[in-house]
């Protein structure tokens, strides 16, 4: 890897010192790894670029779901857990899928939690594609209404319906 790198590194040709040449090649090698995200080998250590998916869980109050149990189901075998684990103190959990498809992540703590479906594209697994996929929330403690305004408006409507019932029946009783 060092020899072709030296040839292509035109800007460093004027450097006389072998030491500088060596360092330049190392920098270039690192640059190549960083640019293309390909595996790099050095002194027997293996660094493989993987696509890691992070899932963050929190209660509806905003409190992170710390140390909650997580079970990941692969698309090939949705019945058997692919991996299990725990969220960290910040309610985060990371996993590296090895196949394309919809991965189901179930987070649970004392009967509370959510199920998230993470669609993984083939390119994301093979090339470490940085395009972030849109995860679909299957079920959670989150309401159907997406924005807080929608939520409060619908809750207000439900409350008004109940208060209206009170008024309706009270009126009928008086008349």
């Amino acid at each position: 890897m060092v020899a072709p790198a030296e040839k292509s590194l035109a800007g460093l040709k004027h450097l006389k010192s072998k030491r500088y040449r060596y360092m330049g090649a190392v920098f270039q090698g690192m640059g190549l790894v960083l640019l293309f995200g390909q595996p790099g080998w050095s002194h027997g250590a293996i660094a493989t670029v993987t696509r890691t998916f992070a899932v963050e869980a929190s209660y509806s109050s905003g409190e992170p779901m710390a140390l909650a149990q997580v079970v990941v189901y692969s698309p090939e075998n949705p019945d058997q857990p692919w991996t299990t684990g725990q969220t960290n103190e910040a309610g985060e959990f990371e996993f590296s899928p090895d196949a394309a498809g919809n991965w189901d992540v179930v987070i649970r703590q004392a009967g509370h939690g959510a199920t998230v479906s993470v669609p993984v594209a083939t390119t994301a697994v093979a090339q470490g594609d940085q395009q972030s996929p849109a995860a679909t929330l299957i079920s959670s403690s989150e309401p159907l209404a997406s924005s807080p305004l929608q939520r409060w408006a619908s809750a207000g409507a439900a409350l008004w319906g109940l208060v209206g019932t009170v008024l309706f029946f009270s009126r009928g009783k008086q008349s």
Binding site: Q69, Q109, A110, L162
Partner: protein
């Protein structure tokens, strides 16, 4: 106290719907036996609104958040109407606030509704309290017992349902420990709910006793129409 969608097996959801359907049918029958079923509607609807709001307010207690259930309170004040009010309140919560879920509506109705009916029974036991106590004290004691029993039973049903429905892949011991912690965390809330119920029931007994007496009129046999119309406002429940 609200089980979200996907947390219990589908079979349990179906059983939950079946059982809560049966309980609803029984409650509607009991309500129909009341001299004037519509007379209790404003109270039932108002308490359904109170239930909707109170059980949506989360009390943060890291690592989890708790909320009141008001089972005993609704049972003590509403009687058989309590289950119906809870069912409506839970439906709105599942639909608008994401509390619980539509598939688990039946299970959740049982978790909160059955303790309400038990709370009603416990509140009625107040008539066996010694006569030497003042009506307010008897009301307060039976109200406290109803509120505390309701909350305790709701927590017990919730936890036992989830303990037996831990899915494959989850560490049962960890989840059991988490559920136990959740149950213990509800300990102070049981007392709070008991006191809250006692205060409200005592207040009603002092200011508007007829709100409580409406339930005392529940007669074990069907009345004739003339009896229904001529029914007096009733004696005080706690006297």
């Amino acid at each position: 106290m609200h089980i979200p969608d996907g947390f219990v097996p589908p079979q349990l959801c179906i059983v939950g719907y079946g059982l809560s359907g049966l309980v609803t049918w029984h409650c509607l029958r009991q309500v129909q036996r009341h001299p004037d079923p519509a007379a209790q509607m404003p109270k039932a609807s108002l308490l359904a609104a109170a239930f909707f709001v109170a059980t949506s307010i989360q009390i943060p207690l890291p690592p989890m958040s708790l909320h009141l259930v008001l089972s005993g309170l609704l049972g003590a004040v509403l009687g058989y109407y309590a289950f119906l009010s809870i069912l409506i309140g839970l439906f709105f919560q599942a639909l608008f606030l994401g509390h619980g879920g539509l598939s688990t509506l039946g299970v959740n109705a049982l978790i909160i509704g059955i303790p309400a009916l038990v709370g009603y029974g416990v509140f009625n036991l107040g008539r066996w309290l010694p006569r030497s106590l003042t009506p307010a004290a008897r009301c307060g004691i039976s109200g406290f017992l109803a509120g505390a029993t309701g909350m305790m039973l709701a927590v017990a049903i919730f936890i036992s349902l989830l303990v037996f429905a831990i899915p494959v892949g989850f560490d049962a011991a960890t989840e059991r420990a988490a559920l136990l912690t959740l149950g213990l965390a509800h300990g102070p809330l049981i007392i709070v709910e008991g006191i809250f119920t006692a205060l409200l029931v005592t207040f009603l007994q002092r200011t508007k006793p007829e709100l409580l007496t409406g339930l005392a009129n529940e007669i074990p046999h069907r009345q004739s129409q003339s009896e229904r119309t001529a029914h007096p406002s009733g004696e005080q429940l706690c006297d």
